[in-house]
């Protein structure tokens, strides 16, 4: 019994660790897309952030300095995206894709030039990383069966960025649905002409959304390179930005459903690692290939069967100009 609880809790804790970058990126995408900018560049911003975080954390031996650098670099990328498709009304998808390609190339070249480790950054010491934190009373509550296991292994023992992410989800929900900025943000993604007529700058609102998107992607990048791992590696984002985009669509551009979409993807990912080589009752040992297809299979099934029609913000993807 206790063993079953332990296994379940450990699976869920793994889910949480894997979900964090997806959640942050999906929230970033939520800001951008709600404002009417299709953000296919999440992947690139996260990668650039991961590289900045690992480099600065290594030079200054501080994880927090790395985080700040990641956010700044990622915001700079977001502003380039904004400059191309808000100011100059370029195609948003093409600009976003260009950012992704730029990030892959630039991080590898700079990492090679600065550190000479073949596109990696040097391994970080503990002081330069976000290390697991123990919540108060972990030792006392840990002695209690079941509840103690859940508290110590699932709720406690994550790093600061995990708790920050958990706090950010309700904050984003509040900002988007309960504040004046959020109302305008949603309006500019649905009907920018109406917003413009009301005397509010469409470009400014969209730039503000890009700032938020950049900052969140930066945190996701820092999480990858300074919390989950201890160095930057070439293309370490491995498609998480695109998975986050899928989660955003799956979650219908709403913060809480998007959170659950991210958790489902991460759960499938965590599960496949645990099921490898395990004899399932009635089925026997499932081949690794089948298990590793699990997250994608699940995505397809859910998107096809349970989501229904996903209505994107109406003006999403369309550059705004007053004339039309």
């Amino acid at each position: 019994m206790e063993d079953l609880v332990l296994q379940t809790v450990s699976l869920l804790a793994s889910t949480v660790r894997l979900a964090v970058p997806l959640i942050l990126c999906a929230l970033a995408g939520l800001f951008a897309e709600r404002s009417g900018v299709v953000d296919i560049g999440l992947e690139g911003k996260m990668l650039a952030g991961a590289f900045a975080a690992a480099s600065v954390a290594f030079w200054l031996q501080s994880a927090w300095a790395g985080l700040a650098a990641a956010m700044l670099v990622s915001i700079a990328f977001a502003l380039v995206h904004g400059f191309a498709c808000i100011t100059h009304r370029g195609n948003q998808v093409v600009a976003g894709m260009a950012l992704n390609v730029l990030a892959v190339g630039l991080t590898a070249v700079l990492a090679f030039a600065w550190f000479q480790e073949g596109g990696k950054t040097p391994a970080l010491a503990d002081a330069a990383r976000f290390r697991p934190l123990q919540l108060p009373f972990a030792a006392e509550i840990g002695a209690v069966p079941v509840i103690g296991t859940i508290y110590v292994r699932l709720l406690s023992g994550h790093n600061a960025l995990v708790y920050l992410t958990a706090a950010l989800v309700p904050v984003v929900a509040f900002v988007v649905f309960r504040t004046r900025f959020g109302l305008r943000l949603r309006a500019v993604g649905e009907n920018p002409h109406a917003v413009d007529t009301a005397g509010i700058s469409v470009a400014r609102l969209r730039y503000e959304a890009m700032l938020a998107s950049g900052a969140l992607c930066g945190i996701a990048g820092a999480y990858l390179s300074t919390a989950q791992s201890a160095a930057f590696l070439r293309e370490m984002t491995a498609g998480k930005g695109f998975l986050a985009l899928a989660a955003l669509i799956f979650g219908k551009w709403m913060p809480i459903p998007t959170l659950f979409a991210c958790l489902i993807f991460a759960f499938a990912d965590a599960l496949q690692g645990r099921l490898q080589g395990v004899e399932l009752p009635g089925i026997g040992e499932v081949p690794v290939q089948a298990l590793q297809a699990l997250p994608y299979l699940l995505t397809l099934l859910l998107l096809a069967g349970f989501v229904g029609k996903a209505n994107a913000p109406r003006a999403s993807g369309i550059p705004y100009s007053k004339e039309k």
Binding site: S14, E117, R234, G273, G277
Partner: protein, 326 residues
């Protein structure tokens, strides 16, 4: 006009052969990259040693995706390399194709076998080395649970896993060996984040020694072991220095020696085609003891491992090679 001239000059520079002598060897690294601190890096060190000792440059190519293999090998062959060393089992099909096109060029393939008159195939008996580190893992484990994280799910990696499992069970027949594979594509050798997560999952299930045979993915496994204060076992290169104190040992595979020998034999004219298998007997595989892990491997552990090594060399102890059973 000026632009056209510039463009032409640029194009010419792109297609010009790099400045190396006709007899220089060439090497092609696999997806993990030559700084993976493991398999490819061992190959890189072999090539560097050749360069140091002979003063001769070598041509190199690091592939980024599978589609580039054949093209890259063909280019190296066309430029008249003295020998084209292809590192990694994934190059088998590409080497076979290109070797037929260039019957006068010598090819050395590492980790797989191609039977052609101009191809030298070097494989390692990784199961023998893995057996020894499996013994070390079982002797160091307090929970009687040891773990294995493989890269891509292929017979070659299963061979590491099987040898490791047999070694662990040789010490303790009741021991539990938990295995994970990182993926089903070559990218599984370059995904440390996932490697770390798989290792954490094993630690939660009680594993206290984990062996990674996964190229750069292993870096994530070793980091996770250090974070959780468990033991990890390196692979291919001596990786003991990565995290002194938690790296129990490394299963060394002398890819460096294989690459060095291929290059220097081609230079001396003693290169021979055919298949060679390197194991404990030829010192092609082994386990690493150095100042970084001296304190972790007790004299008793070392004695038992060395006894098993001698028994395997003498043929008194059989380790299963799953790739031979197919």
């Amino acid at each position: 006009m000026k632009n056209t001239a510039l463009a032409l000059g640029f194009a010419a520079a792109l297609f010009a052969a790099p400045a190396f002598a006709q007899t220089a060897p060439a090497i092609l690294f696999d997806v993990g990259g030559k700084f993976d601190r493991s398999f490819n890096q061992a190959a890189f060190e072999g090539a560097e040693r050749f360069k140091r000792e002979t003063g001769q440059q070598y041509a190199e190519f690091e592939i980024r995706n599978t589609a580039e293999r054949e093209q890259a090998i063909r280019n190296l062959a066309r430029r008249g390399a003295s020998v084209v060393v292809a590192v990694g089992f994934s190059n088998r099909a590409a080497v076979e194709t290109v070797a037929k096109e260039f019957p006068d060029v010598k090819f050395t393939l590492i980790d797989s076998v191609v039977n052609l008159p101009n191809v030298q195939s070097i494989t390692f008996r990784e199961h023998e080395g893995s057996f020894l580190v499996g013994m070390a893992a079982a002797m160091a484990s307090k929970t009687a649970k040891v773990g294995f994280v493989g890269g891509m799910d292929i017979p070659l990696i299963r061979k590491f896993a099987k040898g490791y499992e047999e070694g662990a069970k040789h010490v303790n027949p009741q021991i539990e060996v938990i295995q994970n594979m990182t993926g089903t594509t070559p990218a599984a050798f370059a995904d440390p984040t996932r490697g770390g997560e798989l290792a954490r999952g094993q630690f939660d299930r009680g594993v206290d020694v984990v062996y990674a045979a996964a190229g750069a993915t292993g870096l994530g496994v070793y980091q996770a072991a250090k974070d959780a204060n468990r033991f990890a076992i390196g692979v291919d290169s001596n990786q003991n220095h990565l995290h002194p104190g938690t790296m129990l040992t490394s299963m060394i595979k002398r890819v460096d020696v294989a690459v060095y020998n291929a290059m220097s034999d081609a230079r001396k004219g003693t290169w021979k085609a055919g298949a060679t298998s390197l194991g404990l007997k030829e010192e092609g595989v082994g386990y690493a003891i150095d100042t970084n892990n001296r304190a972790l491997v007790t004299a008793d552990m070392e004695r038992r491992i060395n006894e098993a090594r001698d028994a395997i060399i003498a043929g008194r102890l059989q380790v299963t090679d799953i790739t031979a059973q197919r």
